[in-house]
Amino acid sequence: MTVMAIEAVDIHCRIAGAPVIQQASFCMYAGRVTALATRSSEAALSLMSVLSGQSQVQGGTLRVFGEDVTRNPDSLRSLVGWIPVTGGDFSRHTASEVLRFFAKAQGVAPDQVADAVEETLVRFQLVHVSDTMMHKFSSDEKVLLSAARSMIHSPRIVLLNSVEAGHQARHVLGRALRSFAGSGRVVVVGMSPGQDDTAELVDDVISLRDGVVESVKHAASPSLEPVVWRFTSADVTQLEDFFTSRELAFTKEGTEISARFASSEDARDLHEECVKHGVGMGYPVTDTQEQPVVPIAGESFGRAS
């Protein structure tokens, strides 16, 4: 059973006179990573602007955690973590200072700010640049910091414009997003056409075209379901370090390893590890397919089997 966090029914929104969302209906679920696939980043930004409470819909109904926020978008602000621009006027700030600023700006209790900063630095693997000024960051570090500052206050809904980044950064980001979603939060990321890397990180994909919802795809298996890998070699002991270092729970039985993967990035890394140790090719069991969502009662939705 998956809890529906955001429900939009026939919403439409105009920004500067132009219709950006037209009669769109969709649902987003707590505990899942949802991608907003749009042809232009403008449409995704507009929808995120609505979901963050910065823009108001002109029609339809928008419910967040069961509360109708159509006419009261301000109430969303404390629930949402979204920083719409990646850079900002922080080039002369260190990573710690940026996070401290956003922790304070998001209203984190003063006595918890330091802990929140420390935890976020660790989660996004930014400890090594905690005292480095932002203008010296690599583009990947900027992407990570940008995501980190959106999540510093542990919001119930996280919106990210994009997760375009290098391999390592995307891996870190994927783990963080999965970890967020795993704790019952909603994670929404923007995805432009052909961004296959992003598709690997997400559970659901809502595609919009000309402001209209074109399709909704849901991953077949819940994110943290165990994924079984089969190896051609019986000697898989060399892979134990891999799972331990990533804090992945796993069971080993013969040539099978069953583990809960935080993201498909882990799968890719595991494959590389296999090649490195000569263990042989593994076969992950995962797929994505379209699946209708069936409401059961009230705010809770079940998934058709």
């Binding site: 602000r77 920083i83 700030h93 922790a103 700006a105 209203g107 929140a116």
Partner: protein, 362 residues
């Protein structure tokens, strides 16, 4: 994953402080500030060296005057240029978008930026301290007069920032904001002197009341109606008459000077008001005293009462029966300070700027 306790709304002080810290970090660490800081240091050293090495007498007084002027110009210019970089519409979009995604609101942004300017302008004044202390010790001028001058200078710097916020937030681009603020600064610091000089007719012939020493000594003037001179101690030598003389008529334009920060600071610093004429002692009390007297005289314009008794060297203070400051002319001059009007004017302009910035950022 830890869930932090988050408040729904930030207090004005909390939000403003957060924004001010961010603003100051970003500004003070930029290379531009380092360059400007070095230039400022060179200017201060140049003032001190020039006054101590090249001028033998009165070096402390003139050094103090130069430092005061440098402080006023620097603080007003820094205050005015501060908001230009982030508030024009082309640049504020990101700022507002970013802050709007947090608990910060426009009031926090505006108050925070103003708070940052207060700190920046104040710090600029503080960098003058060593030179100011040195000049104060050298000149023997009361320290509190210097503190008042710096206080006014800082106040005007912050007000300039407020006005500039309104101007910058109304401008579309950074270039437009800089151009407008530069024009405003030029008008304020240079243009006002020019406007005052150009708009005021140099001299007009007017009928004035003249108090002068009686050349005949025997003709005692009738008891004057002026309460100051009405008591029995009025010296019999001083007589009143009416004369047509050439006199300046500047008072209709006096308010222009209130726009000039240099004039305001000079006028605001008190010095012994009993000195109708600025003497060496008065100059020692505050080196800008003569300029202050000129300003106030200019505001009064051609006096309708001219006191020639006071100026006469033959008349002692005892024979006048009162201090020199009690003379009708000086009472009029000394009693019309520029600074209260200027203070209200600058504060009003600052309020307009802050309100305008808040409106534009919304």
């Amino acid at each position: 994953m830890t869930t932090w306790s988050v408040s729904d709304a930030l207090s004005l002080w909390q939000g403003a402080l957060t924004v001010a810290q961010q603003e100051l970090r970003q500004r003070l660490r930029s290379p531009t500030v380092t360059v400007l800081g070095v230039l400022w240091l060179i200017t201060m050293v140049a003032i001190v060296v020039w006054n101590t090495q090249l001028r033998a007498e009165g070096s402390g007084e003139t050094m103090l005057a130069h430092l005061t002027f440098a402080a006023v110009v620097a603080q007003v210019c820094v205050g005015a240029s501060w908001p230009c970089t982030s508030l024009p519409r082309s640049r504020s979009a990101n700022l507002v978008a970013m802050f709007a995604a947090t608990q910060l609101r426009v009031r926090h942004i505006v108050a925070g930026k103003l708070l940052a300017v207060c700190f920046g302008v104040g710090a600029l004044g503080a960098t003058l301290s060593p030179a100011m202390v040195y000049a104060t010790v050298l000149s023997g001028v009361d320290a509190w007069r210097v503190v008042i001058a710096l206080g006014w200078s800082t106040f005007l710097g912050v007000c300039a920032a407020g006005v500039s916020m309104g101007i910058a937030a109304s401008a579309r681009t950074f270039g437009a904001a800089v151009a407008r603020v530069t024009v405003a600064l030029a008008v304020s610091i240079v243009g006002t002197w020019w406007a005052y000089g150009a708009a005021v007719p140099a001299e007009v012939e007017a009928e004035v009341t003249v108090w002068s020493l009686d050349p005949n000594q025997s003709s005692v003037p009738p008891a004057p109606k002026d309460p100051v001179t009405a008591d029995s101690a009025v010296p019999p030598e001083c007589v009143v008459s009416t004369e047509k003389i050439l006199t300046a008529r500047s008072h209709p334009m006096w308010w222009v000077l209130a726009v000039n920060p240099l004039a305001v600071v000079v006028d605001a610093v008190p010095y012994p008001s009993s000195d109708a004429d600025v003497t060496d002692d008065t100059e020692r009390a505050y080196p800008l005293a003569s300029l202050k007297q000129s300003l106030r005289s200019a505001r009064v314009g051609g006096a309708e009462v001219v006191d020639r008794c006071t100026a006469a060297s033959t008349v002692s203070e005892a024979s006048l029966g009162s201090e020199r400051g009690a003379s009708p002319v000086w009472q009029q001059v000394g009693g019309l300070p520029l600074w209260p009007f200027a203070g209200v004017l600058w504060l009003g302009a600052c309020s307009w700027g802050v309100w305008q910035a808040g409106r534009r950022l919304r």
